[in-house]
Amino acid sequence: MWLFSAAIALGACTHRPTVWNEGVGNAQSYGLDSAVAVVDDATHRALLLTAGADQVLNRQLLTVGHNVVTVETSADKKTLFVLSAGDLPRRSDKDEFPSLTIIRHDGPASAFTSKSYPLATPLSSLAIDPQGQWVAAYAGASEHATFVENPNEIVFFDLNAQAPQDQPIDRTLRSFGGTPQRLTFSPTLQLPSGPRRLLVVETDLDVSILDLDHLHDATPRPEITVRLSNGDTVQSLRPAGVVVDDGDPESNADARIGVRLTGDTNVVTLTLGAVPADQTPPPPNDFSPVINLTDVGGIVSDIAFVRTDGGIRLAALVPGEAKGTLVDPDTSITTDVALPASYEHLSLVTNEVGTPGNGDVALLYGASGSTQGVAFWSLGETAGTPYRSVEALGITTSVSDVLSVPEPNRELKVLESQGSTFYVLNLVNLTASPLETLGAASLVLSDDGKRVWAFAPGTGNLASVSLDTVHPIPLVLSRSITNVFDIARADGGRSLLAVHANGGFGVTVVDGLAPDTATSRVYSGLLLEGL
């Protein structure tokens, strides 16, 4: 009898792994070129979903660090970056340190691999190099995660380096009271000392420029800090965004950085020139910025370096004055151009329009409450004929965002509005085809430039719109949609993965090239697998 009772007692002592007690939580999905990544922080995993023929969904699980803070994808969508804070406090050897996990693959037919880099301190923000060489982790504007934190510390990861240079590089920027808020990687600039890539760091108070090509030096080159002030008061100005331009390809002394400021009517232009020969001792950096501060007469919402028939200018949109201002970076002379509406954003479409060499063409949009949805600003005709340089298109709703279509339809733009209509804009023939939706719709472009998917989050309504014919194919899914991703398949086809982020996480796989719910396949409980 005692044996019987003991057998029961033994059975009561065994409990299942605690992972089954972890809820699904707020698992997020991220689109890659040939997969959808679902980061399940509760179980410290990333689920990579790829599609095969006949809408078969393949799954691959990889481990990520504990307590995921932020996730980013690379510009080419082949790499996923997962920044984790680790276990704090650490109570055993099994508790993890902060880390950056990099998940990548070499093509739709290859499996994903991961590599983890431990960090000494938890960080909360990531900046991704558009050229795919660098990743920078920094504290950013988040709340403190530890008792003591260095907000000016940036950790760099060189993704192209071989051992031993593949280890993280710690840099602490000198501070004049500000902390890094935004990092921008420049393209290759022709500087007086040769081609160079730079990192522009915007803090609360100033802008710092760091030489990326000398980060591996045994003796690090210090950053160049440009303190921002309007000259009238001692109050420091806060940068609100930067743009970088290499200038004339024939010159190596006109690379520039443009800075717009928060709540100020000035724009700052930094021209990267040679170090003065008479400067002693010689500075550690082989370039030196020359600063120009220009008042454009209103709060600036967006800036861009543009080519006009009068040379390179810094274009600034001043929605409060319904104007655009062109600033000569060398002389600070400004030219105002009246705009038909208070546009807040501009996007250069010169290459898409097909008129290079005659000045840039900018697409203006984002005028809230306006009936002049978008306008073209032809900068080649600005000088002397400012009034004929802006042409509004016949879109009577406010456009909130412009999606650039990749090749082979790069002359097309998809315009999102705040209403229930979106447009397919042809930049060559200047036509805008409206597509009306039942309620607000989210738009996702396919990477092959052939389709745009429209869906209503929280419902099963979905549609595929061909960008060639502007023909919609309506689809209704059985579950509410959280997000959709158009991904490449290993067999050359394409699939749409509609994510249903409720419960254990579901996905509906639809053929991307011939969408039909009758051939789609429904998957459920994906985050229950592999535990």
Binding site: M1, W2, L3, F4, S5, A7, I8, A9, L10, G11, A12, T14, H15, R16, P17, W20, N21, E22, G23, V24, A42, Q55, V56, L57, S478, R479, H500, N502, G503, G504, F505, G506, V509, T517, A518, T519, S520, R521, V522, Y523, S524, G525, L526, L527, L528, E529, L531
Partner: protein, 310 residues
Amino acid sequence: MKNLVRASITLALVSSSAIAFAQEKQPDPTPPQSTWGTGQQALPPMPADDSADAEKPADTEPAPATKEPKKSEPAIRYVPASHPYESTAPAPEQEEGVPPLQSAHDTRESFWKVSAGVRGGRIDDPGYDPFADNSQLWQFSFAATRTLLTAGRFSFAAGLGWDGGVHSDTTARGFSSGIAVHRLNAPLEGRFHAATWLYGFARVAPGAVYRKAWIEDPSSPTAELDSSAWAFAADFSLGASFLAGPQGKPDKHVPRFWFTPEIGYAWSGSTELTLAPKGAADDPQPTGTTNLGELALRGPFARMSVDLSF
């Protein structure tokens, strides 16, 4: 769960008491039957001892004449050769008033038996984790057996059995889940009757196990994922059966109550845990499956049953 543990301990205590009760001297309604065979002759008297005469009290009456045994009748004791209990002394386990085991016709050895009990098992397979927060699997047990062969103290019985239970008070990542397990088997039992009130047994019970598992996952179009499968199974166990009573009337088929504790190992084949939305087979929409690996419902078990034989 706790209630089942208490019930098991109570059953153990009750069965101990019942066994103690069963071993008490029982009034035997039937007159004892001699098992020493027929034709038993009285032994000749011991020779007289002169030394003892002085200690003998004076007889007031003359001693009765002893009958001299007939020379033609030797003092022999006949013991039937076929009886297992061939001894000149009473068997030590034999209680007064309780007829010992006789033959194949003893209904304490050869009988029909139906059993009802509780079975507690332990499943350590990782495939069990989504459906149970511990390793336990509790089931009700029902069985019916019949003694087919007897040979002295040994007998062999066979029958049919069913164990069924559900483990449903669980969640898998926050979603309600559960599993129902049903075992159908044919127990084959070899018994050793150590006494009229006790026999030990070794049992092999081949059969099949059916399991249905489910998770109430909102991501499923029908809000539930389930999976069901059959597999070959077999139990291997040892146990003992204690006769609570009545112990008499061995030649009559009277209802008798037994308590039977048993421990053993349950083996079953492994099955794929591929879950699909409930009702997916009837849905023309192609559906993918959720793969949770494999599940083998194997592990030690213990059972306590109350039996009725007749």
